[in-house]
């Protein structure tokens, strides 16, 4: 079995190469080769394909690809590579379930399969999108925790401490990390669900030092919360990220590897992006020894994941992982449109229908491309969780029709989407209650989905 110290050894002694050579000569060349060898082809008519052999070929291609290219360590300028038996061994021994949360709010995350009736894990909230103040943070998190079908909470990111904008690797980041933890726990307690796990704990911590500070039990995090370590595009890491993994591992905390392969970047088109998304799961399992996995493939130009090519990627990577491993895999969405718009709800419904029927669980993610401060409400995460719940058990071919129908409602607007409204404009600031306008949009789209065959009242 590969131990974490072996990974560090490989980072120090692996084959040296420049980052540019890794990107252009190793990564891109091998990726093109495996896509061609396994004859992987995007099909715009089948955004949620029912072809199991396609999913299995993508898995095999990703396996071969990762064996060959490994992970690039930017600090040592060497590649961390694993052989076939090391990867297979790790996949066999990776956790097949993790209990998150405490008391009555505890739940068990389990793997799923395509068309599985097992409800997906519903990881609900801001997905780390930025907010301008602690008041907005508290209002949102309290209302996320009130979403009855939420299994866990993803908090926003604080951008200021006492009005001063946080700078990375500064004391402000450490203070921001502590506040994120303490405020998140308090907001959940106020909602009456004190045991609900926070699974993007310390969203505000970019650096290992801020993460480690926020881990102190004094501030309220628990071993049953979730913890994340990011990767760098594509298939890269550095010592700071490895430090995070090391710190979390030393405390036995359930760690996720998170990754956003870029469609149009070094991954190339949809086929390459699907292969790389699967390869990232292998990287996470081995390099970070992760127990759960969060994927957010994203469009290089539109900074969203609701376009047809990316829906196909979401479906086929999910099928490849869920059919060929027992890894605990989640999908995270980016919408082009902002809160309190029909378009954002269509985009979410398309993405979660594709991903959930293909065998993974979900985290609600970057609304309005995740780029606008305070463009968050509790309505969109609730809607997304309901879609995820309702889509479980649906046949892929039925999901395909629903997804294509939804895409037709927004695809022409992706380049110039409606930005929607801020939390302060959509919701009552004191109670977090959404406005009538926002609820009317939500109810209207729920009705449209019911007519399409996705009944959210099942929840």
């Amino acid at each position: 079995m590969v131990a974490f110290l072996d990974v560090i050894g490989k980072a120090l002694t692996g084959k040296p190469c420049s980052e540019r050579d890794y990107d252009l000569k190793i990564f891109s060349t091998k990726l093109r080769e495996v896509v061609k060898e396994y004859d992987i082809k995007y099909d715009p008519e089948n955004l949620v394909p029912s072809d199991n052999s396609l999913a299995d070929d993508i898995f095999k291609a990703a396996f071969d690809f990762y064996c060959e290219v490994g992970t690039y360590c930017k600090d040592t300028e060497r590649t961390i590579k694993f052989d076939e038996s090391e990867i297979k061994d790790r996949l066999r021994n990776a956790p097949s379930k993790i209990v998150f949360g405490e008391g009555v709010d505890a739940g068990t995350m389990v793997p799923r399969k395509p068309e599985d009736r097992t409800p997906p894990w519903r990881f609900v909230g801001a997905g780390g999108v930025a907010v301008s103040s602690e008041d907005v943070f508290m209002g949102l998190v309290e209302n996320y925790a009130k979403i009855s079908i939420a299994n866990s909470i993803t908090t926003p990111t604080l951008t200021r401490v006492n009005g001063i904008r946080i700078r990375p690797y500064s004391p402000l980041e450490i203070l921001g990390a502590i506040r994120t933890v303490a405020l998140g726990r308090e907001a959940i307690r106020r909602a009456g669900r004190p045991g609900l796990p926070i699974m993007n704990s310390i969203a505000t911590a970019d650096s290992a030092i801020a993460l480690v500070t926020g881990l102190h039990p004094e501030y309220g995090l628990r071993p049953t919360d979730g913890y994340m370590v990011a990767t760098l595009a594509e298939l890269k890491t550095n010592f700071d990220l490895l430090n995070r993994a090391c710190a979390l591992m030393s405390l036995g905390l359930p760690t996720a590897a998170i990754f956003g392969p870029i469609f149009g970047g070094y991954c190339g088109g949809p086929e390459g992006t699907a292969v790389v998304t699967v390869a990232y799961h292998l990287m996470g399992a081995l390099v970070y020894q992760a127990g759960w996995f969060l994927a957010f493939p994203i469009h290089i130009k539109h900074i969203a994941s609701s376009m047809p090519e990316l829906l196909w990627v979401a479906s086929v990577y999910a099928q490849a992982i869920s059919r060929n491993t027992h890894l605990l895999a989640l999908y995270y969405d980016y919408t082009a449109a902002g809160p309190c718009t029909k378009m954002a709800l269509y985009e979410m419904a398309a993405q979660y229908t594709a991903a959930i029927t293909s065998g993974v669980s979900m985290e609600t993610g970057g609304i309005a491309k995740g780029r606008r401060e305070d463009y968050l409400t509790p309505v969109e995460p609730r809607f997304a969780a309901e879609v995820a719940y309702a889509a479980a058990g649906m046949k892929r071919e039925d999901a395909n029709e629903i997804v294509k129908n939804l895409v037709s409602k927004y695809v022409d607007k992706i380049a110039d989407p409606p930005i929607g409204m801020k939390y302060q404009e959509c919701c009552d600031i004191k109670t977090g209650k959404p406005s009538r306008k926002c609820l009317n949009i939500y109810n209207g789209v729920r009705k449209e989905l019911k007519d399409l065959g996705l009944d959210l009242s099942r929840t």
């Binding site: 252009l24 930025a130 700078r167 990375p168 970047g265 190339g268 900074i303 401060e373």
Partner: protein
Amino acid sequence: MSEEELLRKLSEAVISCDRETVVKAAQQAIEKGLDPVKAIEKGLSKGAIVVGEKFDKLEIFLTDLMMAADAMKAGLDVLLPLIPKEKASRKGTVVSGTVKGDIHDIGKNILAALFSANGFDVYDLGADVVTSKFIEEAEKVGADIITLSALMSSTIGGQKDVIDYLRETGKREKFIVMVGGGPTTREWAEEIGADGYAETATEAVKTALELIEKKRS
């Protein structure tokens, strides 16, 4: 080979990311007595414009863009030394980097490649660049533009730091400052006093050209 054929060869070799052919064609152009300015403008740059358009439509992807930019640069390395400085009609000089604390570089790499492809001289400082380094480099190379990338909501403050530093050291008017990257918006650019903002690298090139023209006029 006629002049027209040579220019076409230069352009097509950039489009097909064929560095070796670009270098050979550039050398042939010199041997044939072709004006190097013309070889750049009607050959290399023409190909680069096509590459930029194809990338914008995602008919090609980042790897192709980077390799085409490499091929273009190899051709420029052959041709530019033959042009007297006053005749080298480069579009402008750009110092580019991702701000302090932010280790993401793909967006910045795309930007650098597209700026190069569109006739700018680009000095790429990489990622996690300290504030003063942008200014030192810009002064050293006589830059027209400083571009500041940031990918995280926690790192965009670094863009403001560079602009504040410029202002407080009396150098703000010397450079056009453009910002971009995942969490940045037009409103943010206005708030911190940037001269330009673009959501995509293609838009950034257009904005840069407009800003330079405005400044020079």
